[in-house]
Protein backbone atom coordinates (compact mmCIF):
# COMPACT_ATOMS: atom_id res chain seq x y z
CA UNK A 1 0.00 0.00 0.00
CA UNK A 2 2.80 2.39 -0.75
CA UNK A 3 1.77 5.82 -1.90
CA UNK A 4 3.38 8.29 -4.28
CA UNK A 5 3.16 11.88 -3.05
CA UNK A 6 3.62 14.62 -5.65
CA UNK A 7 4.70 18.09 -4.55
CA UNK A 8 4.50 21.00 -6.99
CA UNK A 9 5.26 23.99 -4.74
CA UNK A 10 8.58 25.40 -3.64
CA UNK A 11 9.19 24.61 0.06
CA UNK A 12 10.28 28.24 0.40
CA UNK A 13 6.83 29.44 -0.67
CA UNK A 14 4.26 26.88 0.56
CA UNK A 15 4.10 24.09 3.12
CA UNK A 16 3.08 21.28 0.74
CA UNK A 17 6.45 19.49 1.00
CA UNK A 18 6.11 19.48 4.80
CA UNK A 19 2.57 18.14 4.40
CA UNK A 20 3.78 15.33 2.18
CA UNK A 21 6.75 14.47 4.43
CA UNK A 22 4.67 14.34 7.58
CA UNK A 23 2.07 12.05 5.99
CA UNK A 24 4.38 9.77 4.02
CA UNK A 25 4.94 6.43 5.75
CA UNK A 26 7.88 4.04 5.41
CA UNK A 27 8.24 2.85 1.84
CA UNK A 28 6.30 5.74 0.30
CA UNK A 29 7.77 8.03 -2.33
CA UNK A 30 7.90 11.78 -2.85
CA UNK A 31 8.09 13.19 -6.38
CA UNK A 32 8.95 16.88 -6.70
CA UNK A 33 7.64 18.57 -9.85
CA UNK A 34 7.19 22.15 -11.10
CA UNK A 35 8.34 24.63 -8.40
CA UNK A 36 8.61 21.66 -6.05
CA UNK A 37 12.04 20.90 -7.52
CA UNK A 38 13.61 23.54 -5.25
CA UNK A 39 13.10 21.06 -2.42
CA UNK A 40 15.54 18.66 -4.08
CA UNK A 41 18.52 21.03 -4.13
CA UNK A 42 21.68 20.63 -2.04
CA UNK A 43 22.73 23.09 0.62
CA UNK A 44 19.41 24.82 1.27
CA UNK A 45 17.67 25.59 4.57
CA UNK A 46 15.54 22.45 4.15
CA UNK A 47 17.96 20.03 2.46
CA UNK A 48 18.75 18.39 5.82
CA UNK A 49 15.10 17.43 6.16
CA UNK A 50 15.13 15.68 2.77
CA UNK A 51 18.43 13.94 3.52
CA UNK A 52 16.96 12.60 6.73
CA UNK A 53 13.75 11.42 4.98
CA UNK A 54 15.82 9.33 2.55
CA UNK A 55 16.23 6.76 5.34
CA UNK A 56 12.56 5.75 5.05
CA UNK A 57 11.31 7.27 1.78
CA UNK A 58 12.24 7.23 -1.89
CA UNK A 59 12.63 10.77 -3.18
CA UNK A 60 12.41 11.72 -6.87
CA UNK A 61 12.61 14.98 -8.80
CA UNK A 62 11.36 15.70 -12.34
CA UNK A 63 14.40 16.45 -14.55
CA UNK A 64 12.64 18.61 -17.19
CA UNK A 65 11.29 20.91 -14.45
CA UNK A 66 14.77 21.09 -12.88
CA UNK A 67 16.22 22.09 -16.26
CA UNK A 68 13.41 24.59 -16.97
CA UNK A 69 14.50 26.46 -13.83
CA UNK A 70 18.18 26.53 -14.76
CA UNK A 71 19.14 23.84 -12.26
CA UNK A 72 21.41 20.90 -13.04
CA UNK A 73 21.41 17.31 -11.83
CA UNK A 74 24.64 17.79 -9.86
CA UNK A 75 22.86 20.37 -7.68
CA UNK A 76 20.44 17.65 -6.56
CA UNK A 77 20.83 16.08 -3.10
CA UNK A 78 22.70 12.72 -3.21
CA UNK A 79 20.18 9.91 -2.99
CA UNK A 80 17.41 11.85 -4.73
CA UNK A 81 16.67 10.28 -8.13
CA UNK A 82 16.10 12.41 -11.24
CA UNK A 83 13.32 11.09 -13.52
CA UNK A 84 11.79 12.29 -16.81
CA UNK A 85 8.06 12.25 -17.69
CA UNK A 86 8.28 8.57 -18.65
CA UNK A 87 9.74 7.95 -15.19
CA UNK A 88 6.88 9.95 -13.67
CA UNK A 89 4.41 7.63 -15.43
CA UNK A 90 6.34 4.57 -14.19
CA UNK A 91 6.18 5.85 -10.60
CA UNK A 92 2.41 6.35 -10.90
CA UNK A 93 2.00 2.74 -12.01
CA UNK A 94 4.50 1.30 -9.49
CA UNK A 95 2.85 2.86 -6.43
CA UNK A 96 -0.70 1.94 -5.39
CA UNK A 97 -2.05 5.46 -5.04
CA UNK A 98 -1.05 8.98 -6.00
CA UNK A 99 -1.62 11.94 -3.69
CA UNK A 100 -1.01 15.44 -5.03
CA UNK A 101 0.01 18.03 -2.43
CA UNK A 102 -1.07 21.22 -4.17
Amino acid sequence: MAMLHTVNKSPFEKRSLDGALSHAVNGAAILMIEDGIYGALKGTAISGKIEKSLATLKVYVLGPDLKARGMTEDQVIDGVTVVDYAGFVDLVTEYDKVQAWL
Binding site: T6, D35, F88, V89, A100, L102
Partner: protein, 130 residues
Protein backbone atom coordinates in the same frame (compact mmCIF):
# COMPACT_ATOMS: atom_id res chain seq x y z
CA UNK B 1 -2.61 0.44 -17.07
CA UNK B 2 -5.82 2.47 -17.07
CA UNK B 3 -5.10 6.03 -15.88
CA UNK B 4 -7.28 9.09 -15.31
CA UNK B 5 -6.33 12.73 -14.75
CA UNK B 6 -7.92 15.62 -12.92
CA UNK B 7 -6.83 19.10 -14.05
CA UNK B 8 -7.81 21.92 -11.69
CA UNK B 9 -5.88 24.82 -13.20
CA UNK B 10 -6.29 26.84 -16.39
CA UNK B 11 -3.74 27.04 -19.20
CA UNK B 12 -0.94 29.66 -18.89
CA UNK B 13 -1.86 30.13 -15.23
CA UNK B 14 1.10 28.27 -13.81
CA UNK B 15 2.26 24.85 -14.97
CA UNK B 16 -0.42 22.28 -14.16
CA UNK B 17 -1.97 22.17 -17.65
CA UNK B 18 1.49 21.74 -19.21
CA UNK B 19 2.46 19.06 -16.70
CA UNK B 20 -0.79 17.18 -17.34
CA UNK B 21 -0.25 17.34 -21.12
CA UNK B 22 3.32 16.05 -20.84
CA UNK B 23 2.17 13.31 -18.50
CA UNK B 24 -0.56 12.16 -20.92
CA UNK B 25 1.90 12.16 -23.84
CA UNK B 26 4.41 10.08 -21.85
CA UNK B 27 1.70 7.68 -20.64
CA UNK B 28 0.31 7.14 -24.14
CA UNK B 29 3.85 6.61 -25.49
CA UNK B 30 4.28 3.84 -22.92
CA UNK B 31 1.08 2.16 -24.07
CA UNK B 32 -1.09 3.08 -21.09
CA UNK B 33 -4.77 3.82 -21.57
CA UNK B 34 -6.03 7.28 -20.56
CA UNK B 35 -9.57 6.57 -19.39
CA UNK B 36 -10.46 10.26 -19.07
CA UNK B 37 -9.10 13.73 -18.37
CA UNK B 38 -11.52 15.67 -16.19
CA UNK B 39 -11.25 19.47 -16.09
CA UNK B 40 -12.57 21.11 -12.94
CA UNK B 41 -12.44 24.61 -11.39
CA UNK B 42 -10.27 26.95 -13.54
CA UNK B 43 -9.17 23.82 -15.41
CA UNK B 44 -12.26 24.20 -17.61
CA UNK B 45 -10.46 27.10 -19.33
CA UNK B 46 -8.35 24.47 -21.10
CA UNK B 47 -11.44 23.74 -23.18
CA UNK B 48 -12.15 27.03 -25.00
CA UNK B 49 -11.32 27.23 -28.69
CA UNK B 50 -11.51 31.05 -28.54
CA UNK B 51 -8.10 31.48 -26.91
CA UNK B 52 -5.45 32.82 -29.29
CA UNK B 53 -1.99 32.54 -27.72
CA UNK B 54 0.95 34.15 -29.62
CA UNK B 55 2.04 32.07 -32.62
CA UNK B 56 5.48 31.33 -31.16
CA UNK B 57 3.93 30.03 -27.94
CA UNK B 58 2.41 26.60 -27.35
CA UNK B 59 -1.34 26.34 -27.84
CA UNK B 60 -2.40 24.17 -24.92
CA UNK B 61 -6.02 23.76 -26.01
CA UNK B 62 -5.00 22.72 -29.54
CA UNK B 63 -2.58 20.18 -28.02
CA UNK B 64 -5.40 18.68 -25.94
CA UNK B 65 -7.66 18.50 -29.01
CA UNK B 66 -4.88 16.80 -31.00
CA UNK B 67 -4.32 14.24 -28.26
CA UNK B 68 -8.05 13.58 -28.06
CA UNK B 69 -8.24 12.98 -31.79
CA UNK B 70 -5.08 10.88 -32.14
CA UNK B 71 -5.59 8.69 -29.09
CA UNK B 72 -9.36 8.84 -28.56
CA UNK B 73 -8.96 10.48 -25.16
CA UNK B 74 -12.15 11.56 -23.39
CA UNK B 75 -11.77 15.23 -22.34
CA UNK B 76 -14.57 16.20 -19.96
CA UNK B 77 -15.27 19.71 -18.67
CA UNK B 78 -17.31 20.11 -15.46
CA UNK B 79 -20.61 21.74 -16.39
CA UNK B 80 -21.05 23.93 -13.27
CA UNK B 81 -17.45 25.16 -13.40
CA UNK B 82 -17.79 25.74 -17.16
CA UNK B 83 -21.00 27.77 -16.89
CA UNK B 84 -19.43 30.06 -14.30
CA UNK B 85 -16.51 30.71 -16.61
CA UNK B 86 -18.33 31.04 -19.93
CA UNK B 87 -17.40 27.70 -21.48
CA UNK B 88 -20.41 26.54 -23.53
CA UNK B 89 -21.19 23.88 -26.09
CA UNK B 90 -23.95 24.24 -28.67
CA UNK B 91 -26.68 22.79 -26.43
CA UNK B 92 -25.73 24.85 -23.38
CA UNK B 93 -25.50 28.05 -25.44
CA UNK B 94 -29.00 27.41 -26.73
CA UNK B 95 -30.34 26.53 -23.29
CA UNK B 96 -28.80 29.65 -21.69
CA UNK B 97 -29.81 31.95 -24.56
CA UNK B 98 -26.22 32.77 -25.56
CA UNK B 99 -25.25 33.70 -29.10
CA UNK B 100 -22.50 31.15 -29.60
CA UNK B 101 -20.50 28.30 -28.15
CA UNK B 102 -16.76 28.04 -27.60
CA UNK B 103 -16.02 24.44 -26.59
CA UNK B 104 -12.88 23.17 -28.31
CA UNK B 105 -12.84 20.04 -30.52
CA UNK B 106 -12.51 16.81 -28.54
CA UNK B 107 -13.89 18.33 -25.32
CA UNK B 108 -17.36 17.63 -23.97
CA UNK B 109 -19.32 19.17 -21.11
CA UNK B 110 -20.68 16.86 -18.44
CA UNK B 111 -21.15 16.48 -14.70
CA UNK B 112 -19.07 15.53 -11.67
CA UNK B 113 -20.31 11.97 -11.98
CA UNK B 114 -17.77 11.62 -14.77
CA UNK B 115 -14.98 12.38 -12.30
CA UNK B 116 -16.31 9.82 -9.83
CA UNK B 117 -16.59 7.24 -12.60
CA UNK B 118 -13.00 7.99 -13.66
CA UNK B 119 -11.88 7.45 -10.06
CA UNK B 120 -13.63 4.08 -9.97
CA UNK B 121 -12.81 2.79 -13.46
CA UNK B 122 -9.19 3.92 -13.70
CA UNK B 123 -6.49 2.21 -11.67
CA UNK B 124 -4.82 5.53 -10.85
CA UNK B 125 -6.17 9.09 -10.66
CA UNK B 126 -3.45 11.71 -11.00
CA UNK B 127 -4.24 15.28 -9.95
CA UNK B 128 -2.66 18.39 -11.46
CA UNK B 129 -3.47 21.81 -10.06
CA UNK B 130 -2.32 24.84 -8.19
Amino acid sequence: MKLALLVNEGPYQHQAADSALQFVKAAVAKGHEIFRVFFYHDGVNNGTRFAVPPQDDRNITVEWSKLAEEHKIDLVVCIAAAQRRGILDENEAKRQGKSGDNIAPGFRISGLGQLIEAGIQAERLVVFGD
